[in-house]
């Protein structure tokens, strides 16, 4: 599998297709790979890659940040994965709460929270991420950690996205996309989410899909496989990452998720509230559910949330409706050091990636 051969073949197929093809990488790490290896610069002109909603930090709703910041400001110790700390809520981010005296810890692994708990017995772990990080949070809850779960399920978001793709756009702002037919011609499905949930679940989506690994060659190969499907007018699920991803997924991890969590509704930045797309802590573990323990406080915080008007267009970026550079704030006011939206915070966010690996620059 040599990359030059793949690139040659991609060129050949895309000539055959002729029209513009839009492929969406659903996972943030894929966006990162695309940028890191300058893949957009070697693709034929009619092949466009757009980033999707697969960066867990990016799809976190401001109101959820407001709640966790509220808990931190009320004196409760909070632990969260590093990236989450800088995501702006309507009032402030967790980092800014820490600057003002709140006890906020960045962790890399949920096991670190167990250690922190020895010193700060009230510590709440801010559980965030897709099916990949949910088992770790479930494991921690079983070990006695208190958590606030914002875990999300990937397939419902994909369903919502496909629906909005068919109806062009459900968002209040009109889509600038003026192409023909489906807005997205094919999807590069996430690698690690798929390692947990398997590939069968994607079959219900009628679109060309390839589950891919995270190396440059993986992504190139996925693009090649998608283009081949498009030529053959197929809409099926293929697995490029078969060295890791199994058809049935990881049963142990799925069982653990099931034991601790139940499915509930969740709010997604950009996509709005999606039914049955979140993971809530089961009643059995309610004494470790921050939402239950602090329900009065959370209720109070929720009633005080005022949506701050912002020109930030993360929501549209996440759906592949616009590119980061189409946002007025991009690079002018919104930078990785002064992020206005979540897509600029995470290193996997479409805006952050575009900021760091600005492709236009390479052509100058």
């Amino acid at each position: 599998m040599n990359p030059e051969k793949i690139i040659k073949n991609i060129n050949k197929i895309s000539k055959k297709i002729g029209r513009e093809v839009r492929l969406m990488e659903l996972c943030g790490t894929h966006s990162q790979t695309v940028a890191r290896y300058g893949i957009k610069n070697i693709l034929p002109k009619n092949i466009k890659l757009v980033s999707g909603p697969g960066c867990p930090v990016c799809v976190t709703d401001q109101s959820d940040i407001d709640i966790i910041v509220g808990l931190a400001n009320a004196g409760i110790s909070i632990a969260a994965y590093g990236d989450v700390l800088d995501v702006p809520g309507n009032i402030m981010s967790l980092s800014q709460a820490r600057q003002r005296g709140a006890r906020v810890f960045a962790v890399y692994n949920v096991a670190e929270v167990l250690k922190l708990k020895e010193k700060y017995s009230d510590i709440v772990f801010f559980g965030l991420g897709f099916e990949t990080t949910a088992p770790a949070t479930a494991w921690a809850i079983k070990k006695g950690i208190i958590a606030y779960s914002l875990h999300k399920l990937f397939p419902p978001a994909m369903a919502a996205l496909l629906k909005s793709a068919k109806t062009k756009s459900t968002s209040p702002q009109p889509s600038p996309y003026k192409g023909e037919g489906d807005r997205i011609d094919g999807f590069i499905n996430p690698g690690h989410v798929s390692a947990i949930i398997g590939t069968e679940v994607y079959k219900k989506f009628k679109a060309p899909q390839v589950v891919a690994g995270f190396e440059a060659q993986d992504v190139l190969r996925a693009i090649e496989m998608l283009l081949a499907q498009i030529v053959r007018k197929e809409k099926k699920v293929e697995n490029e990452y078969c060295r890791v991803v199994k058809k049935e997924g990881n049963k142990k991890a799925l069982d653990l998720i099931n034991e601790v969590f139940e499915v509930g509704d969740a709010k997604w930045r950009g996509l709005g509230e999606i039914k049955n797309s979140g993971l809530k802590i089961r009643k059995k573990y309610q004494n470790q559910n921050a939402e239950f323990i602090y329900c009065d406080l959370i209720e109070k915080l929720r009633s005080k949330i005022i949506e701050k008007p912002s020109a930030c267009k993360c929501g549209l970026v996440l759906q592949g409706l616009i590119e980061p550079k189409d946002c007025l704030l991009f690079k002018e006011i919104c930078t990785p050091e002064n992020p206005q939206g979540a897509c600029m915070v995470s290193v996997e966010g479409a805006c952050n990636v575009e900021y760091r690996y600005n492709n236009a620059k390479c052509k100058s």
């Binding site: 290896y37 300058g38 994965y81 600057q99 960045a106 002018e332 002064n338």
Partner: protein, 375 residues
């Protein structure tokens, strides 16, 4: 370190969004990260302090500020045997120098002791290297300590021993200093500030890269950060901090270097962008010959940290003309067999990586806040 982008003399450095500086009511970690936010803060501080214009100091945005001693010294010898305009040279051992270089740096490290060094060794090497990359030979260092009440005397002794060791090995004396102790909890263990003065015959600027030059490094990069992060996250590896003095290495090739910098905070990405910007040139690195060990790559992958921003504390990168590059590498390889060419300088702007796929992508200088990324 004030040297990173100290004043906005350079009009094109001015941020478009000036009003943002005032938006921060509190100091954030990024303000100390060595990135754009640090630059903004330093510019703001400069503005408040004022001055800094009507003096003869130069290179105030570099690793060390420089002062040409010629006018001062020749004045005192007016009419003497050197004549009014003759250069007066101060003799400092092997070097004849008339330019004073001055630098200062505050050191905080967590953990204090790590594979390959400790906070004392870094405090010495950091300042010595800041002088060295300017082409100077360090002649004296000041040492200030702020220590937390209850700090173990044995640890302090260890730190002082390694400071003494570097001083002895490099022949750079500690000539003055200060010690303060703070109440327990008011400071985290220990903070060390060193300032240093050195003398140089020729200042190596970081704005001297020319199209056609090669970019070289004095060894593999990033191992200091790898050692620190490994200690912090309980990783085990053979990698030790690359912390060491660069004086001899740089002095041995100084006359061939068009520009030179040590990739400390902000890493290779930060210094190459600085060199490219100040030299008005473009730098292109080749992914096939990058100066990173496999363990370093693994750390950067595991923690999601950009490999080009990993810090080294005893390496330098330089641009050298094509006729001198072989000579320089031959000399540098005596110090470190991994010294090598990693890229080239061309006409244009920016720093780029030529990937193994044959594509080109930019290497941006980012903030130095090395926070592991998970999502």
């Amino acid at each position: 370190m004030w040297n990173i982008g100290i004043i906005m003399q350079n009009a094109n450095l001015k941020m478009k969004n000036n009003n943002l500086k005032l938006k921060n009511k509190f100091i954030e970690l990024e303000h100390g990260g060595g990135g754009k936010k640090s630059e903004e803060l330093i510019a703001e501080i400069r503005k408040i302090i004022g001055g800094g214009k009507n003096n003869n100091w130069k290179n105030m945005r570099d690793d060390g500020a420089t002062l040409d001693l010629t006018p001062t010294l020749s004045l005192s010898r007016r009419g003497g045997k050197y004549g009014r305009d003759a250069k007066f040279c101060v003799s400092t051992g092997a070097l004849k120098c008339n330019k004073l270089v001055f630098t200062t740096d505050a050191f905080i490290v967590d953990p204090l002791f790590f594979p390959g060094g400790d906070i004392g060794k870094i405090a010495m090497c950091g300042t010595i290297n800041d002088l060295s990359v300017m082409g100077a030979k360090p002649i004296g260092i000041s040492l200030s300590l702020v220590i937390e009440e209850g700090f173990p005397m044995a640890d302090l002794k260890k730190i002082m021993q390694s400071i003494g060791k570097v001083s002895k090995e490099t022949g750079v004396p500690i000539v003055t200093g200060d010690t303060k102790v703070m109440e327990r909890g008011k400071i985290d263990k220990i903070e060390i500030t060193t300032s240093g003065v050195g003398l140089a015959e020729n200042i190596i600027s970081n704005g001297g890269a020319k199209a056609g030059d090669y970019i070289i490094v004095s060894g593999d990069l990033g191992e200091h950060t790898v050692a620190i992060l490994s200690s912090r996250f309980n990783y085990k590896s053979k990698i030790k901090s690359d912390c060491r003095s660069l004086t001899k290495e740089i002095q041995s090739v100084a006359k061939y270097l068009n520009s030179c910098k040590d990739p400390t905070r902000g890493g290779l990405a930060a210094i190459l962008n600085e060199i490219a910007e100040k030299s008005n040139t473009k730098i292109i690195l080749d992914e096939k010959i990058l100066p990173f060990k496999k363990e370093t790559i693994a750390v950067s992958e595991l923690l999601g940290i950009d490999i080009f921003s990993l810090a080294s504390e005893g390496r330098f990168a330089a641009s050298v003309s094509s006729e001198n590059v072989k000579k320089v590498l031959k000399i540098l390889k005596k110090y470190n067999s991994e010294a090598k060419i990693i890229g080239r300088v061309e006409k244009g702007k920016g720093v780029f990586l030529q990937t193994n796929l044959g594509s080109i992508r930019p290497i941006e200088a980012l903030n130095g806040k090395l926070i592991p990324r998970i999502c």
